[in-house]
Each structure stands twice: as C-alpha cells, then as structure tokens.
C-alpha cells in the first residue's frame, strides 16, 4: 500500500503549496498538541490543555494524562487538518515527540503518529522535545538555526546548549536538582498560589519588592554552567514562618529575581566564554516577563543578539515539533518507525 502512486489530490497539493506538508504531534506531558506545517509556514496549531484537570492534584498525574491524550488525539488531528484546510492524503510526513517526557503520555502521540504514517505510506520522524524547544526561537525567522547559546528553561528542564546548526548540539550545563519551572511551581505552592505556579508568580511579582528578601543564588559563581534551584526553594520554605502581614508579593518578586539572576548570569557567561554572538531562550519559563526583560537588557549591554521564543511557542506545542521535522526531513530518507519512544532521550 505504501508504494502506490501519488493521487491527483496529492499532485494538486504539491503544485499549490510550497513544501512537504508535515503533520506533527506532541504528547510528552499534559498538553495534547497537533500542528500542520507547509515547509516553514505554520498552517495550524491546536492544543488541548489538561492544566485544569491536573490542577486539583497539584501536578501532572501520568495515568490521567495518558487517558486524556488518547481521547483527544484523533479529534485534535482532525481539527488541525480542518483549520489548515488540508485533506489527510496531503500530509507528506508525520512527526511526533519521541522523548524526553512521561513514557505513557509519549506513547499515545508517538503511536498515533506512527499509525498515521504507516497508513499514508509516508515518512515518520521522532523528534526530541528539548531540541524542539531549543530551536523554537528560530521559528518564523528568515534564517535557520545557527551558532548560538540556547537556554532551555521549563518545568521539566533547565539546560544551556551550544548550537552549531541543526543536530549539532553540545550541552554546556543543566540543573543538578530542580528545573527552574519546578522551583517556580513549588514556591508558588508554599505561597498558597494555584498550580501551575510560574504564571502566578510572574503576575504577582511586579507588585512586590524584588530586593526585600535576600535569597541565595546557588552556583552562580561556579566555574561551570550548571544550575541549582532547590536551595532557593528551601530558603523560601524557612523564610515564610518568620513573616507576618502582606508578604506574598515581596517573596514572589524576590524569588523570581533570584532565579532570573542565575539564568541570565550563567547564559551571558557562556556566551562570553565561548564567544558566541547569538543567544536564544525557550521553554515555558522563557515566557516569564522579568526573564525576557533582563535577558534583553543583558544582551544589549554585551552587544549580543537575542532571540526569544514567541510566547505561543514557549509552552508545549506541536508547531515546534513540526519545525524540527521540517529541518530534519531534508536529511532523512527513511523512517523512525523502528525507534521506541524514550522518556530519557538525550539531546546530544
């Protein structure tokens, strides 16, 4: 079945549109996401969020997440195709997140994507979720991924990466304990704020004094590019019982300032040491308004170029998965059908 000739619809599609249509799927955690891309042009991006479902548990419950992925995936793919005004037969390549992430969640999108590719007789590409975040700042630019220092910062990951092009990555450092976004969520919980805590702290911090409490900056002076955030969280835990009155905004602002301080200083140090002119930031925490402001100021001071992922691309989405597939589809001749999903998939 896979070797059949192109139908008239496929030929019409190839004549009308500028590149191979990529249908991409992302289910690495609690967002079910599907996107359609025509080359580098985003045709549709649909996300079904489970945030409200998991809110009552204070975090993502893997079994709940995978059950919801399975019930949402087919309607969401149909929705993405409708929004893009595409017929399923026009898909030229299917991509899905291979890892890292929650295995039971990954397997839903990854298996659905494989089934779709098998049925269409088209290539299947398994995409690294971190790579997708890492390259997301380049989405929509005229140029492709180029030499840069990439900060990937989210609820599950905090990494500094030297990028030398698509597929050429050197991990410079990462967190030795909590991811930055995880620390945001935990501190928000200590402050009585709802899950997910990152956006709550971001919204609250401008009303507080970021210098009111002197919180530690662990590892900021270390000679490597690793991070540590659990110490700040612990400092907040010991601080709170001593406070009285209206302190929540001040604690939120002080905590946010400490985390942002570490992220900015480490990133700029890496760019300076390796003499890299372009800095990127991506992942859910890169949407934090104070981080975006401080990164902009630091880049300007040091004469570096800065590319921040568009806010819509900072949380988990399938557009970034499709973007990596588009970049890699030129070099891939076969298919990743024989590869398993990998919850611990390494970037490099």
């Amino acid at each position: 079945m896979a070797d059949k000739s192109a139908t008239s619809d496929e030929l019409l599609c190839e004549g009308r549109l500028s590149g191979p249509i990529v249908l991409s799927v992302e289910t690495s955690c609690d967002e079910t996401a599907v996107a359609a891309l025509d080359g580098r042009r985003l045709l549709s991006s649909c996300i079904s969020s489970q945030t409200l479902i998991h809110q009552e548990f204070g975090g993502v419950v893997p079994e709940v997440a995978s059950r919801n992925h399975l019930s949402k995936i087919e309607p969401l793919v149909n929705q993405a195709l409708d929004k893009a005004n595409l017929q399923v037969k026009q898909i030229g390549c299917v991509a899905a997140t291979r890892g890292p992430g929650l295995l039971t969640s990954l397997l839903v999108g990854y298996s659905f994507g494989k089934g779709l590719a098998i049925g269409l007789g088209k290539p299947f590409i398994g995409v690294n979720h971190i790579e997708a975040h890492l390259l997301s700042p380049f989405f929509g630019t005229e140029f492709g991924p180029e030499r840069s220092i990439g900060l990937v910062v989210s609820g599950g990951h905090t990494l500094l990466v030297l990028v030398d092009g698509v597929g050429q990555y050197k991990v410079l450092g990462g967190t030795v304990d909590d991811a930055a976004g995880e620390a945001f969520d935990k501190v928000a919980k200590l402050l009585g704020l709802p899950y997910p805590g990152g956006p709550q702290i971001d919204a609250l911090a401008p009303r507080g004094n970021p210098h009111r409490y002197d919180l530690p900056r662990p590892m900021v002076g270390s000679r490597d590019f690793n991070f540590s955030f659990s110490g700040i969280k612990t400092a907040v835990r010991y601080l709170l019982p001593k406070l009285e009155g209206d302190y929540v905004a001040d604690v939120a602002a002080s905590f946010q300032e400490a985390v942002v301080d570490i992220l900015v200083r480490k990133t700029m140090a890496a760019a300076a040491e390796l003499r890299v002119d372009l800095i990127t930031a991506s992942g859910g925490v890169s949407c934090n308004s104070r981080l975006r402001q401080r990164m902009g100021e630091a880049a300007e001071r040091s004469g570096k170029r800065l590319l921040l992922a568009e806010p819509a691309l900072t949380t988990d989405n399938a557009a970034m998965i499709g973007y990596v597939a588009v970049q890699r589809s030129r070099e891939i001749t076969g298919s990743d059908l024989a590869l398993d999903a990998d919850p611990n998939l390494a970037l490099a």
């Binding site: 204070g58 059950r67 298996s111 590719a117 098998i118 049925g119």
Partner: protein
C-alpha cells in the same frame, strides 16, 4: 472480500493477524511498541486495501493497549477504514472459560466467557480471595494471563489476535481500553 487486521497487545507479547474474509493470510508476534509499528507497516503492504482494524482492548497492560489503540486510530484516519475494539479476554480458543489476570496493587480480574461472549465486564477481586473464587467457579476451563503462586495448576496463556478474528458479535466502536480502575493518584506532600 473484507481485509481485516487484528491487533492484540494486552500483555508482554502481542500478536497481529491479517485476514481475508476471516481466513488468516499472515500472522506475527511482537514485543513492544516499535515492533508493533514495524509489523503493522509490513503487514498492510501485503494488500491493496484495508477495510477493518480490530484491536484487543483488554483488560491488560494499559500502556500496551493504548499503543495498539492509538496506532489503529492513526491508521484509520489515513486509510479511511473501520475500527473496532474487542475485549482481549475473548482471544482464546474456547467458547466457555474463565480468564484470570493480574490487575496490580493486590488485585486480580476475573472474566467469564460464555458461548464465546463476555456477558459482563471483568470484575476485580483481592488476591486473598483468588483461591476461593476459583474453587467456586462454574467454568472449569481456566486461563491465566501470567503465572501466579495462587494459580499453580492454571494454564498460562496470553490472548491472541487469531482468536479475536471471528468474534464479530462482540465488536464495538474503538475508543479506549477497558479501564478496570480509576487512575492511581498519590497526593504530593
């Protein structure tokens, strides 16, 4: 002529069957999601048109079942074929029997198959009650999906796709696996 693909993946080893008007033309076993995808890919290349996909929906390993269901749903979208779910416990070469499976966390499921059908959803029983349940059972043919200390004389056999092939009367719309329990949720401290 109806080309039907049957996928059964409720246990550690799965099976896949391609049939033409109920006659098996190809049968394979596999382990893991990657092998399932490769098997499905090579299997459907044997035919020019696929009309139906039937998937064993359990009870069994939630992960394996979801992999099979998701793969089939993806194939359905591409091929425009029909998809059906069928209780995996019907995948045995008998008409009247009992299937016992480990449902984790100290529980087992019991499924009673009569005249080739599953009249009621499998029920959960505590591990401690297993011996008494078996001695009371009116069905004397018993299969276990995995070995257990409490089942020393019971034949261990996984359901097989070939035996789901002819269970048309038990097919239903393919949506999700048979979930015997609510998700296990631990509240963070």
């Amino acid at each position: 002529m109806v080309n039907r693909l049957v996928i059964e993946n409720s246990g550690p080893t799965g099976s896949i069957v391609l049939a033409r008007d109920h006659a098996i033309v190809l049968e394979k076993t596999f382990q893991g999601s990657a092998e399932l995808a490769r098997m499905a890919d090579t299997t459907i290349k044997e035919i020019d048109r696929l009309d139906e996909i039937v998937v064993g929906i359990g009870p069994g390993s939630y992960t394996g079942l979801r992999v099979a269901v998701a793969t089939a749903l993806g194939m359905k979208l591409a091929l425009g074929c029909r998809t059906f779910g069928c209780a995996s416990v019907l995948g045995y070469p008998e008409e009247n029997y009992l299937v016992i499976g480990d449902a984790r966390r100290g529980a087992f499921f019991l499924a009673e198959i009569r005249a080739g059908k599953l009249p009621e959803l499998p029920r959960l029983i505590p591990r401690a009650d297993l011996g008494a349940e078996i001695s009371r059972a009116s069905l004397k043919r018993i299969f276990a999906t995995s070995p257990a200390e409490e089942l020393p004389d019971v034949e261990v056999m996984l359901p097989q796709a070939r035996h789901l092939l002819g269970r048309d009367e038990s097919f239903q719309d393919l949506r999700e696996p048979i979930y015997l329990k609510e998700p296990h949720i631990t509240q963070p401290k």
